[in-house]
């Protein structure tokens, strides 16, 4: 009888232990399942060329599910994605269209400018150079130059901006140098060509996001604006001196943002929100100047500068978490960024600064 009871007990113990083992097995299976889902999502992101997001997903699979086979697969995939990300992309349709539109407009202006410089008597010359050679040449040239080019959206934006900036800087320089009308027009054409060429060389081989391009663009514009107001604030009367300072201020703003953008790696959306904050601030400055009936040009410009700076600062402050990863995996992402293998890759991609974090929850606005 005793041996029978022993058999029954042993049997039941075995069954119980098998149940426990099965539960452990299910847990392992579930973790495997989760790792697979994350890995598959990362692969889909790679297909969509969302490389930074894919790397974050793969990091998640590696660090949160190290015991699964998908962690190993993810490690291999991550190296592949990191290599893919550094390869220049074929130009997107919208970026190509942007370059072609700018090229055509610049070609048209070059044609018209050439006409003004040459000052021809015949209408045939006007028709040929101004209306046909310029626009058609600009369109054809820009289409040919961008046909099989490999450029990211950020690079394309910066090339366009380089062309526009070159025109502005060269025109301003010619005015400051007291050149005549033909000289100014010639300088603007030459400036555009130099700007396009220079920006093409600068962006080549560099990883530039649309956000970087927007930041640099706005940096130039805000630099110009602050320098213009600053020159008026400094009581400078000479218009050439004001123009020269505006140009230098613009260059300074542009260079500052060019230096800062790889560190900040701001999204285009955040850059635009900060910019709109600056515009609202400038409008507030303008309104305050009118409401307070400030007559002095100097004081008025001071109020404008304060308004713009406050607007930009407020925009930066309230959007400080805009680019941070939100949602379910946000905390896990932070941990991974801090210690993961992909931290360097991510820092060069998204460029969020980690480590020091100062939070002042005085005002909290969610966008």
């Amino acid at each position: 009888m005793f041996s029978q009871i022993c058999i029954i007990e042993a049997f039941l113990c075995m069954m119980f232990l098998s149940q426990v083992a099965r539960a452990d097995d299910t847990e392992a299976k579930l973790r495997q399942l989760e790792a697979r889902v994350i890995y598959e999502a990362a692969c889909r992101l790679v297909d969509d060329e969302e490389y930074n997001k894919a790397i974050r997903m793969l990091d998640r699979a590696i660090s949160e599910y190290p015991e699964t086979e998908y962690a190993r697969l993810a490690a291999g995939k991550k190296a592949e994605v990191a290599a893919l990300r550094l390869q220049p992309e074929p130009i997107s349709g919208i970026s190509r269209a942007g370059l072609v539109v700018f090229g055509t407009l610049f070609g048209t202006w070059s044609g018209v400018g050439t006409l003004i410089i040459l000052d021809p008597d015949s209408s045939e010359m006007v028709g040929c150079v101004g209306c046909i050679s310029g626009p058609v040449g600009g369109l054809q040239a820009s289409l040919a130059l961008t046909r099989d080019i490999r450029l990211s959206d950020g690079q394309a934006s910066l090339i366009n901006f380089g062309g526009a900036w070159g025109i502005w800087q060269a025109t301003g320089a010619a005015i400051v140098a007291d050149a005549d009308e033909r000289g100014v027009i010639g300088a603007s054409i030459a400036g555009g060509i130099i700007g396009l060429a220079l920006s093409s060389v600068i962006v080549k081989g560099r990883y530039i996001t649309p956000g970087d391009a927007t930041m640099i663009n706005f940096g130039g514009i805000w630099g110009t604006w602050f320098a213009l107001c600053g020159a008026t604030l400094a009581d400078i009367e000479d218009s050439d001196a004001i123009l020269a300072r505006s140009m230098l201020g613009g260059d300074l703003g542009l260079l500052t943002m060019a230096a800062l953008s790889p560190k900040l790696r701001m999204s285009r959306a955040r850059a635009r929100l900060i910019n709109i904050g600056g515009i609202v601030g400038a409008l507030y400055g303008l309104g305050t100047g009118i409401l307070l009936e400030i007559d002095s040009k100097r004081d008025f410009c001071g109020v404008l500068i304060i308004g713009s700076a406050l607007g930009l600062a407020a925009g930066s402050y309230f959007t400080r978490d805009y680019d941070a990863e939100k949602g379910y995996f946000a905390n896990a992402g932070e941990v991974i960024l801090g210690r993961g293998e992909g931290a360097n890759i991510l820092d060069s991609g998204r460029g969020r600064t980690h480590g020091i974090k100062l939070q002042i929850p005085l005002v909290s606005i969610k966008f």
């Binding site: 579930l30 997107s92 055509t104 028709g127 959306a269 409008l283 507030y284 009118i290 939100k326 949602g327």
Partner: protein, 393 residues
Amino acid sequence: MFHVLCPLCASVSLCVDNRQLGLGRGSRTVNNVYITLAIISTFCILCAQVVTASAEETAAERLYEDAFRLIVEGDYGEAYDRLDEVIAKYPGTVYARFAEDRKRRLEELNPSSIRRKKIDQSGRIESVVFSTLYSTWLGVGSARLANAESEKATAAGMMIGAPAGLLTSLTLTRNARLSNGQAALVNFSGYWGTWQGFGLGILLDKDDDEKTLIGSAMAGGLLGILTTSALTRRIDLSLGDASMINYGGLWGTWLSFCIAMIANIDDGNSILGSVLMGGNLGAASMTALSTKVEFSPGQASLISLSGVVGTLAATGVLAIVAPAVQIESVEVVFATMIAGGILGLWGGYNEFGMYGQNTTRRSGQETLSWSIGDQFHRITSKEVTVRFLSVHF
């Protein structure tokens, strides 16, 4: 000795030998039988449990996988519901435990984001920027309507309008579905409505009173924004569609102006009326066309640019030819520009209309494919480039 086959798994047999167990005959044998049957029953019950659990497990696994996939994709609302389902249907299981843990992590997020569906907000910033600028105009316009002379009122209107637009648009679009295409169309409607309202104001008010013009422009813009906002809630259109409608409006305006010139209409109001109508016609026809053809915004821009270049080139040709053939008529000039523009648009459509349609985005190489019988052939631009001939099968 008993040989029992498990009725469920059909693979387990149990053999009990009385002698081996050291039991005697009689009541011992009966006890022995009962005990053996009890063991077999327990075993069978456990087997049945395993089989049932296995079927349950598969269903639970599938449901949990769905829920987790939704979490990874950011569709928290759906994921939350699926996790609830896992907990309710399979309580006490590992799946329920995992689901509870995931649900708790979701609950730590912003409550509104838990219940929200995954939404496309790619056009949000575009809308915010537009709304800020537009409401600045509304503020200035309202101030001018209220007190046309006062600079201070205008400044106050501007100071109220700009932040009001910024904050209102940020709040209204926080959890709203707003794609790039929808945002572009709503913004276009704002501009278009303002222009149409302004034009109608000129047509209706003979004195061109400033207040009437500002009021009608504001009303037109608001009407445009509200109508399109309501429409785009039901219609999901792409950025390419929005670009087509935009360019359609502009080309309709320009072409109707040229036609008015050719028709020798002298009255300013009649020209304005035809221009407004032409613009609407252009936008409406492109709206109808956008449901049939699919263009990317890049394609739409390039086609439109070709039209502009065509117009300029036609003007150039006219400038070259005019002295020789003594063209002095304005009608001929505008007719030539129309012809140039339309030719340019047509050329642009032929050149860029198919651009990107036979190629995947960013593929970087164009692919020509055709089939003869059962065979499928493909040539990529890396192998052969035929630029002067385009054949579509």
